[in-house]
């Protein structure tokens, strides 16, 4: 099958106060459509940097990310950062989803239906009208996951999705990732420092260390 994303010779160096840190060194990856890719590595391995470049939030020093236009006519990305603050804490859970849904260009009806369905699936149906600032950190992470898949993006980029989650939450997230990719042939990246958490849901695992790919399984 033709690749969905092709990463060619990606290098990223961060420079600050006369010091430079090589976050990524000559990364090459070719990923097929419908795959779930685990990015596993210790802190500072370069997982987040790689995901941010794919999301268009960082520009590499050299190399490129090519998204196959034949497969993704309108490549829409779902981005889940490792930072669980990325919600408006003065809005309720539902108001947050409505805000982002409008931002993603969804219809009002579609936003409400998807938001209600996903909040119920994640056990947040009784907290829809509570301020997000009053959520527990695990609940906020669940809401973040819902936010990232609300508009049914073609490419999902999950950076440490299991932060603050209990065992049920981890299981639920893994189930969601599997269904999300499997049924619709979508591409999912899951970056984690703990390989155990992604269990056996991934189609392939890319191990990273010090900005390089150390193994591909």
């Amino acid at each position: 099958m033709k690749h969905a994303i092709k990463i060619i010779d990606l290098t990223k160096i961060f420079r600050s106060n006369g010091r430079s840190v090589r976050a990524l060194s000559n990364i090459n990856l070719s990923i097929e459509n419908g795959q779930i890719v685990g990015l596993v590595g210790a802190n500072g391995a370069g997982k987040t940097t790689l995901l941010k470049i794919i999301a268009g939030l960082l520009i590499p020093d050299s190399g490129s990310v090519k998204i196959n236009k034949n497969i993704y006519l309108a490549p829409r990305i779902g981005w889940l950062p490792a930072d669980s603050r990325c919600l408006h804490w003065r809005l309720t859970g539902l108001q947050n989803l409505v805000f982002f849904g409008r931002f993603y260009g969804m219809s009002e009806k579609n936003i409400t239906e998807r938001a209600n369905y996903l909040m119920s699936k994640f056990g947040l149906e009784n907290s829809r009208d509570a301020l997000t600032g009053l959520y527990s950190s695990g609940m906020r992470q669940k809401l973040n996951i819902i936010r990232s898949i609300l508009h049914e993006p073609q490419i999902l980029l999950f950076d440490e999705p299991f932060i603050s989650m209990d065992e049920d939450g981890i299981e639920l997230t893994n189930e969601l990732i599997q269904n999300y990719s499997g049924k619709n042939n979508r591409l999912v990246f899951v970056a984690t420092a703990r390989e155990k958490q992604i269990g056996n849901i991934v189609d392939r695992v890319t191990y990273m260390g010090k900005g390089r790919i150390v193994n591909n399984v």
Partner: protein
């Protein structure tokens, strides 16, 4: 276009909901208007007739002059500060990356914020004017088409400055020299609180290069003497040139800053 309207709606509703959740702050910020008007009302009493000779040709008296100066410049301050403030808030709440990963052009987001600001600042403008008329008896003779055009062009160039300020915030986080420079120079030399005629002659030349000078002068002419678009065509052409140049400059600088922030990895930091 449809997507742009959706983003604008999303931002307007979100800002309203967040503002509503800070009820006291929202109410007290509106009360500021009353105190500002009262402050200048009493200053105008102190100045008395001597102030009137200075503002001749711009307004009937000092109080009317300053009220329209403050009301019109509130549109400039809003345009100048909203985009930088929005970006700064998104940096602090951690939502900036999420918003930028949504495949919407960042400049479209900035313009949606600008529209949001315009609506709010036009409301503030109206509030100043209505309070001035009802409570302090200022007399108006308005040409509405010319006033609307002046306010729109004023909002346009101040949004351009806002885009430049937003660019600085993307890179330097808390440092926004554009807002600082424009606010101070415009307040001092733009004819907001006193007529430019009061300034030394050499400073008049500096005022001639400031868009606010033309905004305020034209706003007063259209609101006190009902001057039409044709009556003020020279001032309006100058304002149009300022709007195009500053908006284009702001757009280019904002996109350049965003690229720089993405290269340096600064989007998530605050």
């Amino acid at each position: 276009m449809f997507r742009f309207l959706k983003i604008t709606k999303a931002l307007i509703v979100r800002e309203f909901l967040i503002d509503k959740s800070y009820k006291s702050s929202f109410i007290f910020s509106q009360l500021n208007i009353i105190f500002t008007i009262m402050l200048f009302f009493f200053i105008s009493k102190l100045i008395g007739q001597s102030g009137t000779s200075f503002v001749k040709g711009s307004a009937d008296n000092y109080f009317s002059f300053v009220l329209i100066g403050i009301a019109s410049s509130s549109i400039i301050w809003a345009g100048l500060q909203t985009i930088p403030n929005y970006i700064r808030n998104e940096q602090l709440t951690g939502t900036l990356e999420v918003v930028l990963a949504s495949s919407v052009k960042p400049s479209s987001i900035a313009y949606a914020i600008a529209i949001n600001t315009m609506i709010y600042s036009f409301f503030m403008f109206l509030l100043y004017v209505i309070l001035g008329v009802i409570s302090f008896g200022i007399k108006l003779n308005i040409n509405f088409p010319s006033l609307l055009l002046i306010l729109l062009m004023t909002a346009a160039y101040s949004t351009g400055f806002g885009l430049m300020g937003g660019g600085f915030i993307l890179i330097f986080k808390k440092w926004n020299p554009i807002s600082w420079i424009i606010t101070n120079v415009f307040r001092l030399l733009g004819g907001v609180y006193f007529p430019i005629a009061v300034l030394p002659k050499w400073l008049h030349k500096v005022s001639d290069f400031l868009p606010i000078t033309y905004s305020l002068s034209a706003a007063r002419k259209s609101m006190f003497y009902a001057q039409s678009i044709l009556d003020m065509k020279e001032e309006l052409i100058i304002l149009l040139i300022f709007s195009i140049l500053i908006c284009s400059g702001g757009h280019v600088f904002f996109n350049w800053s965003l690229k720089k922030a993405k290269l340096k990895g600064l989007l998530a930091s605050y």
